[in-house]
Structures are given as structure tokens and as C-alpha cells.
Symmetry: C2
Subunit: 344 residues, 2 copies
């Protein structure tokens, strides 16, 4: 006799490039989830800031929504549920077991932190790619999840779907992270490596904007805030210290940096924006700064949109993970791998 | 009321540098295993080729054995169990739940394959660091383990304790490995990078021998057999194809290679012994060969004893793992992480 499939309901907050790529991945892996976990899913709610909100407890017609997105880009006319006056209202009414929180990045943490808190408080598992709320409210949110007996997962906040948090948790048992360093921001790394090849700061930034890599206001990237937020998540999750983005010594890059890049090149070295953390007298210090690296340093080989994280541990000495030229599909995979992690 | 701890018995085949480092790690992590898994372990048997055999169903005095190893290096006088006429006899008599197989490498697979088969057949979980038997008997041993409902784990066969097999299994769900490439052998990589710095082949090899990196007979490393055996395990475990070491096109390095290394350097490139596998018309092709790499290729940045593996996947595009200058402790950690994996 076949086992009855488990039914699980998903809700999305945010339906931009990442949300749509994740929905496509869920559809692609439908058979796999049924086979491996005897799991049948439906999406019972999607809420967005500018493209409407939709609830259907029987499951939204996700293929149809994706198919018509280029023409319509609005969810309201798929709504079969109650009208929601707010995201809080949406979370309570959407009937989901898992909330995928993918709203627009706000490094201050809110309003996404409020959505996550509401969802965890209401007994939903939460998976997010949003580094802001995780960095600024780490302790509060992880405690709340523990208290409510639900999972709070955030693999996609650093290096997309490259396994960092899940790898340390599952594959590095009883291991202490002594220090770590990495290149975590693609926009600045892209600009630095383009400047090495003779491109001007302005042209490199313009290109990064055109391919959708840098925001219209790229200051969060250029001033090192994005790296600092990711570093803060790494420190809190992997090194057990309460270091928030504002506690991190932070430098960025600017037009001036071109001169320093070229000077480093002449010495056969490479300039990179390095995020690092180390222990000092019972505390953890976090820094985001420009460093001149020897050419054989693995960080020096990281070009374009690629990222790297090097963990210095007791059990495994130095272990590095490189993610090569990710797209939005790799962020979507982060959500998928967290989903599988909470099913296990 | 406190939970009664689970009791588990371990047996070792082999007690060289790796076995002793693993025993020390088990002692160091005793409290952690009790806390995380409510697990109490004892070692009920150790069998070696040249240093005797010992069984004690009450648990061998492992601290005492380690403490006196430099003076005695013999297990026979700790024996409180039956005399064993063979390793097969030892496996049946040692009373263990898990066998850690760490006997001396034999790329033909035997006799270690026989020990593993015996142990799996007798219902023991088996953890090994021995790439020979895994490469040559992969299908047979994994099938036997499944049939007997026990685990057969081999994280330490490639890149020591760097999570490769456990990472793909646990952190890359529903992911297809399209191709892979890496630097998997430390001796040849050490010699190549030393030759880049002007050292002769003979001096580099001599040094590798002196630090215990290369065997007295280094031909398995130099002729690419070690890389081919590891590549074979990767292909069988991660790409689902039956490619044995003998099926892999294989080249090595020799004194002649120095000239090629220097010619590559003059073009600002790096020569590396690359192991790679790719799919072609339903088959998987494996090759171990010298490749000239661009300086910004992550493989070119790998120096000394370090290793790298780059996985090319559908879900995560390119993902690389680097293990930096491992020692015997990192191989011991591979056994420990497999142990934790089978407890989960």
C-alpha cells in the first residue's frame, strides 16, 4: 500500500526575480519532492509590495501566474481569499506552513523583521534570503523560532545557495570557527576586477547597473554595507558572537580606488574588498576593508561576480567555498535547499 | 529523568598515524558526543598488520595504549579477548557496531575490500579512508550495505575531512553533477609548485619523502594512480557512472615535467595535474592529465599540499571546495564526520 503524501502549504512575501525563479524550481522539482519526501505542496498565498496580493487555500495557479507575468504582473485578480489590509494580516490568513520571505532588501532589518517575527510567532517555519533582518535581529528571531518549535533558515543571505550555514551545521560537527574571511559582495568585486583590466570606475559601475547587479542607488554595495550585513550574519550564526552590521569596521570603494588597484597590479598583487572576522580576548572583531593580496591567495583568483568564504577551524584547518558567477537561480536554490533541510 | 546513554562499540583495522589521530579526536570529543547524541563509545578491538591485535569487549584502555605507543607499539599485550587467526576472525569476534577501516592503501582494493565486505555482511557499519577498495568495489559494497541496512561511508577517501560526499548528499538536494575537476593529489602538486619556484624535481621529491608526504615508492602518486583512484570514487559516488581507476586516461609527472612547468611560467600560466570528469553521450569520461591553467583559474592558486574540487552542477552552477594544507588530523576528522553522519 502506498503511503499517503504529506500536504504542505507555502506562502511567499515578495515575487521578484528570486521569488519567480524559486517558484519555477519548485515546479521543476515537484516529482523529486514527492519521491524523496512523499511531499505535495501548494502555494496558498503571495504578497508583494507593488504587484498585489493573492490568497487561495486550494492553491494558487502558479504556472498560470508565471506564464502571464510579463503581460499582467499583478496578483490581485488571482485572489480567492479574504482581502488583507496588511502583511501581518496576510501572514495570518494565508494558511501556510512555511513562509518564504523574499521582500526587498532593507539593511535596517524592517519591515521584513516584522513579517518574520509575525510568522514565527504564528507557528510557521520561515526561510529567508533577506540579510537585513537576519543581521539586525538574529538573536531575537532564532530564540523565537526555538521557543515556537519551528525552523528559521537563511542559507541565501550569504553566497546564495552555496552551502555555508547548512554545511557547518551538518558537515562540520563539533567544529569551532576560529576566524573567517571572504569576498561576499559581487558589485564591488566586479568593479575592482574590471578596473584591473583597465575599465574606469564609472563604466564598470554603469555596466553593473545595466545587468541588474547593482541597485539604482549602489551605495549599500559601494560603502561596504552589504558585505558588513553578510559578515554580521556569519559571525552571529557561525562564531556565536553578537556583532551587528553597525559594529563592523567598514570601508568601501570609490573612483579613487582605481589608482590603488593599478598600484597593486604593478607589484603583481590584487586589491580586493575583504570581509573578515577573528577572535580577540573573548570578543569577535569584524572588518570590511580593502586588502592587497598575494597573487596565489585564493581570494585573489576571485573575479567577476564570484564569491569566496574561507573558514579557519580547529578540526579542518582552512576550508574554502567558492561560488562561481551566480545568477538569480542560485539564490532560488538557497530557498530550495533550506526547504529540504527543514523537511529532513 | 535523564535519558540512558546509547552504548556503541568501535573496532579499528589499522592503527597508524590516522588511526591514532582519530582515537585522540574521539577522546577529545567524548563529552560532545554524549551531549549531542547521548552516546557513550568504547573501542573493543584494534587489528594491525605489524603491531599486533587486541580485543576487549569491556573496552580497550585507549588512553594507555596511545600513551605507551612510542615505547611499545604493540597491541598484543592489551588483548583480553579470543586469539584471532585472521582479520575476518577479528571482525567476527571484536563485538563492534562500527568498523573504521584504515589499513594501508592498496589500489587494487584488496585485502581491505575483503575486510569491508566481511564487516558489512556481519551487519557492522563501515567507515573507511581507503580509496582503493571504494574505487574498485564501489557498486558491490554500496549494494551490500543497502541490503544489510547498514551505512558505508568514505568521506576521507577524497580531500580528507573536507565535506564532499556528505555535502553533495545533504546540502545539494536534487542536484545533478554535470562535470567536475580538481587537484586531488598533494605529492604531485607539491612537486609542481616547488618546481615553479626553481627547486629541482629530485629535491622536491626528496623533501616530500622526508616530511612523510610521499611513500618510499612514490610511483602511485607520480604516475597519477592516486588521483585516478580518487576520481573514480567521485565519478561513481557523485555522477552515478561505473568508471574504475583502470578506465581513467592517466598521465603523471616526471623529471621532464620541470621544463614544461617553466615554459608555462614564462607565459604567466601554471601547470597542474588535473583530475576531471565529464558526461559525453550517456557516458562519463575520466582523465588525469597535466593542464596549463590561466593564472586566475582557482586551480592555479592551489599550492603546496592543498587540494581543490570544482563541481559543475545544474542547481548551483560552479561550486568549489578548497582544503588548505591538511595534516593527518584532517583525515581523522573525515572519520569523525562520517561517524556523526551515521548517528544522525
Amino acid at each position: 500500500m502506498e503511503q499517503e503524501p504529506r500536504q504542505i502549504n507555502f506562502a511567499f512575501i515578495g515575487f521578484g526575480h528570486v521569488g519567480r525563479a524559486f517558484a519555477r524550481l519548485l515546479i521543476d522539482r515537484k516529482k523529486w519532492l514527492l519521491k524523496e519526501f512523499s511531499l505535495e505542496w501548494k502555494i496558498t498565498g503571495i504578497s508583494t509590495k507593488n504587484h498585489g496580493t493573492s490568497i487561495n487555500h486550494e492553491g494558487l495557479p502558479i504556472k498560470k501566474i508565471l506564464g502571464s507575468w510579463k503581460r499582467h504582473s499583478n496578483l490581485d485578480h488571482f485572489n480567492e481569499g479574504p482581502a488583507c489590509s496588511s502583511q501581518t494580516d496576510f501572514i495570518r490568513q494565508c494558511g501556510a506552513d512555511v513562509l518564504f520571505e523574499m521582500s526587498v532588501l532593507d539593511l535596517s532589518g524592517g519591515p521584513a523583521a516584522t513579517y518574520i517575527r509575525e510568522a514565527l510567532g504564528a507557528g510557521l517555519h520561515v526561510v529567508t534570503t533577506n540579510k537585513g533582518p537576519v543581521a539586525t535581529h538574529f538573536l531575537q528571531l532564532t530564540k523565537l523560532a526555538r521557543l515556537r518549535g519551528v525552523k528559521f533558515l537563511y542559507e541565501g543571505t550569504v553566497m546564495d545557495g552555496a552551502p555555508i550555514f547548512n554545511m557547518v551545521r551538518l558537515n562540520l560537527p563539533a567544529t569551532r570557527i576560529k576566524s573567517l574571511r571572504g569576498i561576499l559582495n559581487s558589485t564591488t568585486n566586479y568593479i575592482l576586477t574590471q578596473m584591473e583590466q583597465g575599465t574606469s570606475f564609472e563604466s564598470a559601475l554603469e555596466y553593473a547597473r545595466n545587468v541588474g547587479l547593482a541597485e539604482a542607488d549602489p551605495s549599500l554595495d559601494l560603502e561596504g554595507w552589504d558585505s558588513a550585513a553578510k559578515l554580521s550574519v556569519l559571525i552571529q550564526a557561525l562564531m556565536g558572537a553578537r556583532v551587528k552590521p553597525k559594529d563592523i569596521e567598514r570601508h568601501g570603494i570609490s573612483e579613487e580606488t582605481g589608482r590603488v588597484v593599478r598600484a597593486a597590479l604593478r607589484r603583481d598583487r590584487r586589491l580586493r574588498l575583504v570581509a573578515r572576522a577573528y577572535r580577540q580576548g573573548g570578543r569577535v572583531i569584524g572588518k570590511v576593508e580593502l586588502q592587497e593580496l598575494e597573487i596565489f591567495d585564493p581570494l585573489a583568483s576571485i573575479r567577476g561576480l564570484s564569491n569566496i568564504l574561507v573558514l579557519n577551524t580547529d578540526n579542518m584547518r582552512e576550508l574554502a567555498i567558492i561560488e562561481n558567477n551566480p545568477t538569480v537561480d542560485q539564490t532560488a536554490f538557497a530557498l530550495f535547499s533550506d526547504l529540504v533541510s527543514l523537511l529532513q
